[in-house]
Symmetry: C2
Subunit: 276 residues, 2 copies
Amino acid sequence: MERIEQHASHGGRQEVWKHVSSTLGCEMKFGLYLPDAALRGEKCPVLYWLSGLTCTEQNFVTKAGAQRYAAEHGLIIVAPDTSPRGDDVPDDPAYDIGKGAGFYVNASQAPWATHYRMYDYVVDELPALIEAEFPASQARAISGHSMGGHGALTIALRNPGRYRSVSAFSPIVAPTQVPWGKKAFSAYLGEDEETWKQYDTVALLQNSVERLPLLVDQGEADEFLEGQLQPQLLRAACEAVDHPLQLNLRPGYDHSYYFISSFIGGHIAYHAQALR
Amino acid sequence: MERIEQHASHGGRQEVWKHVSSTLGCEMKFGLYLPDAALRGEKCPVLYWLSGLTCTEQNFVTKAGAQRYAAEHGLIIVAPDTSPRGDDVPDDPAYDIGKGAGFYVNASQAPWATHYRMYDYVVDELPALIEAEFPASQARAISGHSMGGHGALTIALRNPGRYRSVSAFSPIVAPTQVPWGKKAFSAYLGEDEETWKQYDTVALLQNSVERLPLLVDQGEADEFLEGQLQPQLLRAACEAVDHPLQLNLRPGYDHSYYFISSFIGGHIAYHAQALR
């Protein structure tokens, strides 16, 4: 493990680390915000942030403006990369498959199955590393954007008790029904669509046992709203099983980090309340 | 003039515009944050932000997190590019001369003199455009980072009454005495060092008439502190002529946007008070 960046930020420190991931079989980077309390050695709760298509660990830490709120609430924020990386890792020229597009699944199909295991990385390896190496408590929350919103929701729903709270910005709520998800899941998981459902929020809600509330913000001017995101499917799925959902539709907002930065403060306050 | 980006942001709108600059003889882009009041047609005061070496109009608008504070205080923020641009504009392979490194001067030497007139662009053409085309009042403030902090301080000192307030992050306060400035001024202004002094904050302070206070934040872990920035020269110059200076030295902070984003809220509040 090696720290490759460190910057004082809002009284705490924004760092970037690299480490060899045994789950993914490659070197990985993640962003780590340590609030002042953590720098003094106090154990702090952790918010995991999962980014969207084409992102690395950099997008969230440079553009979301989350450090101010993490500092205010004494949260650590961990922002991993969105796929395995490196010359040995299979890729595809398209932006929505391969590197930068891990979709937070464990791939079962060649050539992806060896490295593309972002589900296990985010659920198991990364938290174990964070809790062993940094002043992190086991109080965890998870959030993300777009493909990462899909990752946050599915991971929270599949792991009852593991996260105190979950939220998402512009999530892909039904990947089995939309082009991004169908393309990625066909490649990573194969043609048996039954296997896709374990990574589909709307499908998972049908069998949800824990009633962890979902906080979701969605811009109404999002260019992917109709084609890929379809928040009405999430609303219907939650209503069908009486799963608590706060869905904030934000008029005029698009899919960009300008949207995230406008509302990340509210999400972090929400997680902080659950984590304390 | 053409709007090439628009994103809802903190209740207002972050835009990017391009236009043909007659001063610079090329097409230029600038970032424009319009708070809610401006979107409703109310005239709002304007903060001009000048970025540093290698930056475009994008760096500040994507990384500084300033929109939240501009929204809170009802300020427009205009963030121009740092040099003329385009295939016809002379350049240099080095990062600290040519494109991305206009140094906010009017060049007098070939091949730079035709296009490199960022001083006139920022002082005259850009404000005239903003005040004609957008709901901007004539209440102006100016700030910037590094090379742009140098630009903000020199432009405010040379134009008494034009700006209600000025501030800077990590400014190059004495370009005539440090490597970045000597290299750029030699190229743009020629070997007669007397002509350099009109673009040197420390030199200009010797003849300052207006007592516009200077607000400066400087990270003490800034990698350019000793070699290029030397805030002690600014402190001495202000003390020598009794010019009001608030110099905030920030332990642990570096030269990056993580530093700017940590303290931009205080600077915007300072400008808002002067502008109202």
